[in-house]
Symmetry: C2
Subunit: 331 residues, 2 copies
């Protein structure tokens, strides 16, 4: 069983993952391992993954068989496990709990050679709808407090399988970085009676220097205090605290701007490794007036080193205004 442990100084939690326990020699072996070879996520290999939780498939095809355009399955090596009660206990001055939660894989396409940036819009829309459906379902679980949707694209961004996929992790606590964001937004709201994200959107729409692209409902920007070169956020133009509670028609527009943004990134940076995350409201209560869901896309172009680890302070060698200009022109 994985274990959640809390740092007694920072209050930061970590997952000590026993499912994936590694000896010293395993790390070197991992570096050498090729990402190629047999792919358990390809169509026809459905028996090589845990059974599907949901799938979008042709009428009449049975679960866990070919004929799908998207599958969501449990992670075969989960960082957290869904079974069991949440036990909290101490160990001297330390605090821990057992690793209850969910860890799922969204297989975005049956075809190994496709990447999310070049999938047809209909398929990108299905990916976003699958995220929505899973978050809504996981919100029902009284033991859980947060769901993170994220994607690792490319080995340098931490992907261990080449086949286009994203992941969903549901947690029994709201993670520190999310809490800080929600609390920061709440502090701003209490002071100004306005959502900080709505204020950012207003200023970026007016200044246009950091605006990358937009459609009727969304905009894509290089954030003012970007941590990484070409960091990009996608935000809904109107106030939406949670990703999973938008009108269904909005996901088509979200798919359009996500696809457009990733394509621009590929053109400017030649298919870079990247991570994205969806930041949405915590559970069980929606963070109503003050929080505003969004995508954060982080290409992995530089190495995070001692200074960043020691301070949480980032050195970004590309001003976001310059990054936005490259991205705007890359159509």
């Amino acid at each position: 069983m994985p274990e959640l442990r809390k740092d007694p100084i920072h209050g930061r939690w970590v997952i000590i993952s026993t499912e994936r326990s590694r000896r010293p020699s395993d790390f070197a072996a991992e570096e050498r391992r090729s990402i190629g070879g047999f792919c358990p996520l390809c169509e026809g290999n459905e028996d090589r993954t845990p059974p599907e939780i949901i799938a979008f498939r042709e009428n009449g095809t049975p679960p866990n068989s070919p004929g799908w355009t998207l599958r969501v399955v449990s992670n075969k090596f989960p960082a957290l496990r869904i079974e069991g009660e949440l036990d909290r206990e101490g160990e001297g001055i330390y605090d821990k709990m057992n690793g209850i939660g969910a860890h799922e894989v969204v297989i975005e396409t049956p075809r190994h050679e496709e990447i999310l940036a070049t999938l047809p819009l209909k398929d990108v829309n299905n990916v976003l709808l699958a995220y929505r459906q899973r978050i809504i379902d996981l919100r029902q679980d009284q033991r859980l407090r947060y769901v993170l949707v994220f994607k690792n694209h490319g080995v340098a961004a931490g992907a261990s399988l080449e086949h286009s996929h994203s992941q969903i992790i549901a947690l029994p606590i709201v993670p520190k970085r999310v809490t800080e964001e929600i609390e920061g937004a709440k502090t701003y709201f209490n002071y100004k009676d306005r959502c900080v994200f709505c204020d950012i959107i207003r200023q970026e729409m007016q200044q246009k220097r950091r605006l990358i692209t937009e459609n009727k409902s969304f905009l894509s920007i290089a954030p003012f205090a970007s941590r990484f070169p070409f960091e990009t956020w996608i935000l809904p133009k109107t106030h939406h605290p949670s990703y999973e509670h938008m009108e269904l028609s909005q996901y088509e527009l979200a798919a359009q701007i996500l696809s457009d943004t990733l394509q621009r990134m590929n053109r400017v940076l030649s298919d870079p490794p990247y991570n994205y995350v969806i930041h949405t409201s915590s559970f069980p209560k929606v963070d109503g007036d003050h929080y505003h869901w969004h995508f954060e896309i982080m290409p992995k172009l530089t190495k995070v080193a001692g200074f960043e680890w020691g301070t949480g302070f980032y050195i970004n060698p590309t001003p976001p205004e310059e990054a936005a200009e490259y991205m705007r022109e890359a159509k």
Copy 2:
């Protein structure tokens, strides 16, 4: 001039570094670049670095010439600049200031083939004394609030030069991660009237499961909530809020345990890339009763991916008790 920008939601500052400004094509070029070739840090090439700030050298040898065992110079491509007034200004809802600060390089040895782990203890001691001397000097600057000493060893840990060196960055604000640590320690102290680090030391000395090595004044442990496999902290056994204010004799013992710990790490993990940082008190007032300086050593064995970026929550595949056992046995 570099610019400091504050994220309006998190309150997290970033350095937008104009000295190092990079276009999209530069990132790909950097990946391909070999770390070999001409070395500006080697003995004999003193004219290829900015002039030395301090050096430990043979009697009678003039500054910026051969005959040294250690030099501290300004970084040729500084993330921050020491000249100028600290100007704070707004840009709509955003906050920024100009990038005042210091960025120095500690050249740990004149010989290119040496690494810190295998330097003679006397030279490691000199490295630690150079850190001390620079922190004490930078503390005099009324514009500054924090100094971080850090080391990037190996390309995967962000080193851009192979020659053994560490870096010092002085900042006009206390960085968020350090503030959280100091505030976390203060909260604990207010509740218990004890230093949280002293409590950690007591428990680890008693349990011994996460103890790696110790000497008269220091211990080296795998922290309970390790973020990374084989993460290691070195702490003084008695309460010392700031690195730079110990008795001189203590640095010899600190050099001994740092060297011992790095050698164990090299043996267990075959000279892994790693980062270390020194966390010490902020300026101008020492964080007296509640803070306790320490080293944090982080081998780079796994890739930080979307989940970690999105949550600040780490998945560690090696329980610290197992890591400590490997490290203990590696003598």
